[in-house]
């Protein structure tokens, strides 16, 4: 089987680019899957502890990624901290 194809229009504002995911994926499923990945990767108490820290780090994320992650957060149900944690999964695995 091949995965679905999603077109990302780079001419759109970064916040809007990833809304195209909604055409291909079930939004409820996406948000549950994101929660599952975070739960399996980050211990619960660490997750709770880092949420305010991660939110404050948003201002250090350069464009266009800050806008894109904000847009993704809205697709995933509005949780910006979780969207940031997901996008730094590789870099912060040990953390």
């Amino acid at each position: 089987p091949s995965p679905p194809t999603v077109v990302i229009n780079l001419d759109e504002e970064p916040e809007l680019r990833w809304l195209a995911l909604k055409k291909v994926f079930d939004v409820d499923y996406l948000s549950k899957a994101a929660a599952e990945i975070i739960e399996a990767t980050v211990p619960k108490w660490v997750h709770h502890a880092v949420i305010p820290i991660v939110k404050s780090l948003e201002k250090y994320i350069p464009p266009p990624y800050a806008g894109e992650i904000r847009g993704l957060a809205s697709v995933l149900g509005g949780n910006l901290a979780d969207a940031i944690i997901l996008n730094f999964a590789y870099e912060f695995t040990a953390f």
Partner: protein, 234 residues
């Protein structure tokens, strides 16, 4: 992960990769991406819904890139990643792949960017081009390259294989994917190497694992043939 870049006798360059990750839920989040500008595709990639970076991608008629995890750090070094990211404004490894696909003008430019741009943490970048000899494995530290290993077809180096271990170190005895892949590639030979053979190599039982999420096959010279296959239970 396992990445292979190989060149046939006619100078065609092929690039294949298995992406391994121990969360089966990612299979249902995998997608091929077409990044467009002015209605035209500027680069392609494969990623997971919810993730803006790329670990696999192609700039058509220029080059292909895959990234493999490099796990040389001890867990107590996590703070170096945090400092790298936010104090030194270094790039996450998957964002550099996207920027390179979007901005680099050719294979050489891509290799320079992937080798020298400061990163949050280490990684292996595997790059394939469109001309004979254009293939390389870059072993990255945070600050720069730890090692650069290009194809060397005139001296028998018609392929390069990268897993998750530095090539100068012995592979783990329990999971020696590197030797399994090299043995199979040697058996196939440079005359017969093609995308189908590459797929067969990446499907070997010790190479395609239960944790393998997808396999991508690509050749920048023939961008329409960019293919991703979802793996079910390896």
């Amino acid at each position: 992960c396992t990445s292979i870049v190989a060149q046939d006798k006619n100078g065609n360059v092929f690039h294949g990769r298995n992406l391994d990750y121990p969360h089966p839920v990612l299979r249902n989040l995998t997608m091929n991406l077409v990044f467009q500008k002015n209605g035209k595709a500027v680069y392609y990639g494969t990623s997971f819904a919810g993730y803006v970076g790329l670990w696999t991608g192609m700039s058509p008629n220029k080059f292909t890139i895959s990234g493999d995890q490099r796990g040389t750090e001890h867990w107590w070094n996590w703070w170096k990643n945090v400092v790298s990211a936010f104090l030194f404004h270094r790039s996450p490894v998957s964002w550099l792949v996207r920027e390179t696909l979007e901005e680099a003008k050719d294979f050489e430019d891509a290799v320079t960017r992937l080798s020298t741009t400061p990163l949050i943490t280490g990684v292996y970048y595997i790059v394939g081009g469109v001309r004979a000899g254009e293939g390389v494995v870059i072993t990255r530290d945070r600050k720069g390259p730890a090692d650069i290993r290009p194809l060397d077809p005139l001296n028998g180096g018609w392929y390069r294989v990268q897993t998750n271990v530095d090539h100068w170190l012995p592979p783990p005895k329990k999971l020696n994917r590197r030797d399994v892949v090299m043995k199979k590639l040697d058996a196939v030979g440079q005359k017969r190497i093609c995308k189908d053979k590459l797929y067969q190599v990446l499907s070997l039982s010790l190479v395609c694992l239960r944790t393998t999420i997808y396999t991508t096959l690509m050749s920048a010279a023939t961008p329409r043939e960019y293919t991703t296959i979802l793996r079910e239970k390896g």
